[in-house]
């Protein structure tokens, strides 16, 4: 492996090494940090964020963004909670919440895909709209534990065997995300749109429909995350999802998804998610002030953006050098047999 290959490898997999290093550092500073119980607790904390981050990764890979997810989570939690307290039916409440999220996503998708509005601005507006909607609907008050059905609250502590339901859902979403992105035409289309929208359209890819679907998915999953959170805390708070959009964005960019679209891996997003949650858990272990943690979320986002642009630069320039080598090697080959040609440049 030559130096350019090594650079590309490091640029792509730096987050995995950073994750290991971070765990090592906290484990040394606080010996009881490295334990099965703490690992499970970190995963449990990561679940809802992961449910939002995976669909957001798809959106960013397709060259758009959804900043409304945190507010949509809050709105869905409040709306679902109110339906539950009104009807007493957990299923109806959950369906209502998720339907609201999907509707919010559909609205974003319609404005961005079909009216061609800028996704950053539209979903920033959505952030305010749905956040306000949650407060308006609830009158600013938390729906208390007593008003939520027993069955719903049970979800918060439900386990599949020894594994909490949140972790099971996270694993399912990650697996589904990996499958869709790497193994389906839809996933290939998503990356193609983000890589070169016009080329994708000329290839017959349904650009508008694909992005619309991604927004609906993002909204639906944000709603699910909001409901899961309220089941976990046993109440529906109109601010329950606030800030999740920034956390999810941080996770996605830390995970090596290119902000300009077209590039990204699910494994990277998972590593980004774990890095972020390990960092927060570690700070709790170190008894850092919670206010300091908020500052750190913002700083991590900024670092992630900085890393994103420099990582993409490194990868591009290394590829360019490799490509030049390969081309010249192939031309040195000078009209040799096909077998030799295919070998050229792979060394």
């Amino acid at each position: 492996m030559n130096t350019e290959r090594l650079k590309i490898f490091l640029a792509r997999n730096g987050i995995f090494m950073a994750l290991i290093a971070l765990i090592a550092v906290f484990s040394v500073l606080r010996p009881n940090f490295f334990s099965l119980a703490n690992g499970q607790s970190i995963l449990l904390q990561a679940a809802e964020l992961g449910l939002i981050a995976i669909p957001l990764a798809f959106l960013i890979m397709s060259g758009t963004i959804d900043l409304s997810v945190g507010s949509v989570a809050s709105a869905a939690a409040v709306a679902g909670g109110m339906v539950m307290s009104g009807t007493g039916s957990t299923t109806t409440g959950i369906l209502a919440g998720i339907a609201l999220g999907a509707l919010a996503g559909a609205l974003n998708g319609f404005l961005v895909s079909y009216l061609g509005l800028n996704s950053f601005v539209v979903t920033l507006g959505g952030l305010s709209v749905w956040g306000g909607f949650a407060l308006f609907l609830s009158g600013g008050k938390t729906i208390p534990r007593a008003e939520l059905p027993e069955a719903f609250r049970a979800i918060g502590t439900l386990k599949v065997g020894p594994v909490p339901i949140q972790i099971v859902l996270l694993i399912l979403v990650v697996a589904a995300g990996w499958y869709v992105l790497n193994r389906t035409q839809f996933g290939k289309n998503v990356k193609a749109i983000g890589g070169n929208e016009r080329a994708a359209r000329l290839m017959g890819v349904n650009v508008k429909g694909t992005r619309f679907l991604l927004f609906v998915t993002s909204g639906g999953f944000a709603a699910a995350a909001g409901l899961l959170l309220s089941a976990k805390v046993q109440s529906a708070n109109p601010n329950i999802g606030s800030g999740l959009e920034l956390e999810a964005l941080t996770v996605v960019l830390l995970g090596g998804v290119a902000f300009q679209g077209g590039i990204g891996r699910i494994s990277g997003v998972v590593a980004g998610l774990l890095f972020f949650r390990v960092l927060r858990a570690g700070l709790v272990f170190m008894q850092a002030s919670p206010f300091l943690q908020t500052i750190l979320v913002g700083l991590t986002l900024i670092v992630a953006v900085a890393l994103d642009s420099s990582i993409q630069k490194v990868i591009r320039s290394s590829w360019a050098k490799l490509g030049k080598d390969a081309t010249e090697e192939a031309e040195d080959d000078n009209r040799s047999g096909p077998a030799e040609r295919e070998r050229a440049g792979t060394s």
Binding site: R183, T184, K188, A199, E328
Partner: protein, 493 residues
């Protein structure tokens, strides 16, 4: 007719450039006298751009140096130093700030005087390059030819122009614009500028250059007067084992395509390769794009049935495949692998119907495409941006040739900016597709591109069309056809 030997304006001395372990330029030494126009030729990756980059200060030489007017300037200067030395470079796509005005662009990173003086200088420079452009016009409103002239005028404002480097300046220009540019280049040469001219268009080089330098694999292989060169010999110097340019003859079948244009019908038969020839950026390109449902809808007859195509999806479903004119902005997805770039529209038609795409999915088709088009470079799992220009173009072509059989294949300047070897491979592939039953349209503003691969052609200009049949002087007939359309028509029809 050689003028008395003046000292060289530009003199390269053993210029060598290494990129990592790769030697891009090896001990290049040659010189250019005032008034000489040297054609610099070579494959993609032969080192032409590298030499230009060293000369214009974009990169430094690993070893060696060059002189301007006898003064050794080393091998590693900044772009600003290069400009101050009187070295001007004109690219195929001028590096101008699109949103600024012509005037602002002329003085970007140039010493500017006071308002009135600035305008006077700017007008003089534009006049010298024969450009009649308002100074307050935004650059993005100009055509490519005009932008090049602005770039050239910008070069003149840096001071005395001594060396002029031209990098594929005519690649996207029409005949008239090309002639105007050539006249201008000669004019500069007469005034003592040393000109180095890179182009893939052999006729252009033959027409304007006094000497020819050929690079191959970073080495200088030919340095000779242009007078003794024939296009044939030149092609052989570029590609030592040039294959026969005569293409496979096909017997066309029934009419498979017909569209009514304002100027009359355009038709093509099964197995036929038909050219649509016009000016650079001309209406033939819009017509071609509309056939594929790009940027608008079109109605035409396809194998006897009337169809309306309003989107690329609909076109592809009907077997109408379109290779857009610009491979990098419209065709390929730089961040995707080479294989995926070929297979992307077709995964739904593979084994898993698009629901289980592995690394093996489409690998066989991709291997076949590489063999058929003689694609060189890294393996199929490398990003497509790693391949050279010609090989990227072949990937774009492969997408529409091998995974599915094209019915109507629309190729917009398919051999634009690729080297001679790749050009022959592409012509072969298009002719083979026709022989296998496809109807092929080749859309271009370069007559030799049409002449090298078509059975007949239509010239399109100003809403009028004229058919030109294949004959010995096809190339000339195409140009004549277009010129005839350019003349004003009497008010009768």
């Amino acid at each position: 007719m050689t003028p008395p030997q003046e000292p060289p304006r530009l003199e390269y001395e053993s210029v060598t450039v290494d990129f990592g372990a790769t030697r891009a330029l090896s001990e290049i030494s040659f010189s250019v006298r005032p008034g000489e126009i040297v054609g610099l030729l070579g494959h993609n990756g032969a080192g032409k751009s590298t030499l230009f980059n060293v000369t214009s200060g974009v990169i430094g030489a690993t070893s060696g140096s060059f002189r301007v007017d006898g003064v050794n300037v080393g091998g590693d200067l900044s772009p600003r130093q290069a400009a101050e030395l009187g070295i001007t470079i004109i690219h195929q796509e001028p590096a101008l700030a699109q949103n600024l005005t012509v005037l602002d662009n002329l003085f970007l990173a140039r010493p500017a005087g006071a308002g009135a003086d600035r305008k006077k200088k700017a007008r003089a420079a534009l006049e010298a390059v024969g450009a009649d452009i308002p100074l307050d016009m935004p650059v993005d409103a100009l055509g490519l030819g005009q932008r090049q002239l602005v770039d050239l005028a910008r070069g003149m404002l840096a001071g005395e122009m001594k060396v002029l480097l031209l990098d594929e300046p005519t690649a996207a220009l029409g005949k008239a614009e090309t002639d105007a540019l050539h006249a201008l280049i000669r004019n500069f040469a007469e005034r003592g500028v040393a000109v180095v001219y890179v182009s893939h268009r052999l006729p252009d080089i033959m027409e304007v250059c006094t000497r020819i330098v050929v690079l191959r694999g970073g080495e200088l292989v030919v340095d000779d007067a242009a007078a003794g060169f024939t296009a044939d010999r030149l092609a052989r110097a570029l590609v030592p084992e040039l294959r026969d340019a005569e293409f496979i003859e096909t017997v066309p079948g029934a009419e498979a395509f017909r569209i009514d244009t304002p100027g009359g019908p355009v038709t093509a038969r099964e197995g036929e390769v038909v050219g649509l020839f016009g000016m650079a950026g001309g209406e033939q390109f819009a017509l071609a794009a509309s056939l594929a449902g790009v940027d608008g809808a079109a109605e035409y007859e396809l194998r006897g049935t009337r169809v309306r195509v309003a989107s690329p999806r609909q076109a592809i479903k009907r077997g109408v495949f379109y290779v857009p004119p610009d491979r990098d902005t419209e065709g390929l997805i730089a961040s995707e692998t080479a294989k995926d770039n070929v297979m992307l529209p077709w995964f739904g038609a593979t084994g898993g119907r698009g629901w289980w795409i592995s690394d093996q999915t489409g690998a066989e088709v991709y291997r076949k495409a590489r063999r058929a088009l003689d694609i060189r470079g890294p393996a199929g799992d490398a990003e497509v941006s790693q391949f050279s220009g010609g090989n990227r173009q072949k990937h774009l072509l492969a997408r529409w040739l091998y995974p599915a059989r094209p019915g109507l294949l629309v190729l917009a300047q398919p051999t634009q900016g690729v080297d001679v070897g790749a050009k022959l491979d592409i012509v072969d592939a298009a002719r083979t597709a026709a022989r296998d039953g496809a109807t092929v349209l080749v859309v271009s503003s370069e007559s030799d591109e049409i002449a090298s691969m078509c059975d007949r052609a239509y010239c399109l200009l100003g809403g009028r069309i004229r058919e030109v049949g294949r004959a010995g002087d096809f190339n000339a007939a195409l140009l004549a056809g277009l010129l005839a359309l350019a003349e004003p028509v009497p008010e009768s029809a």
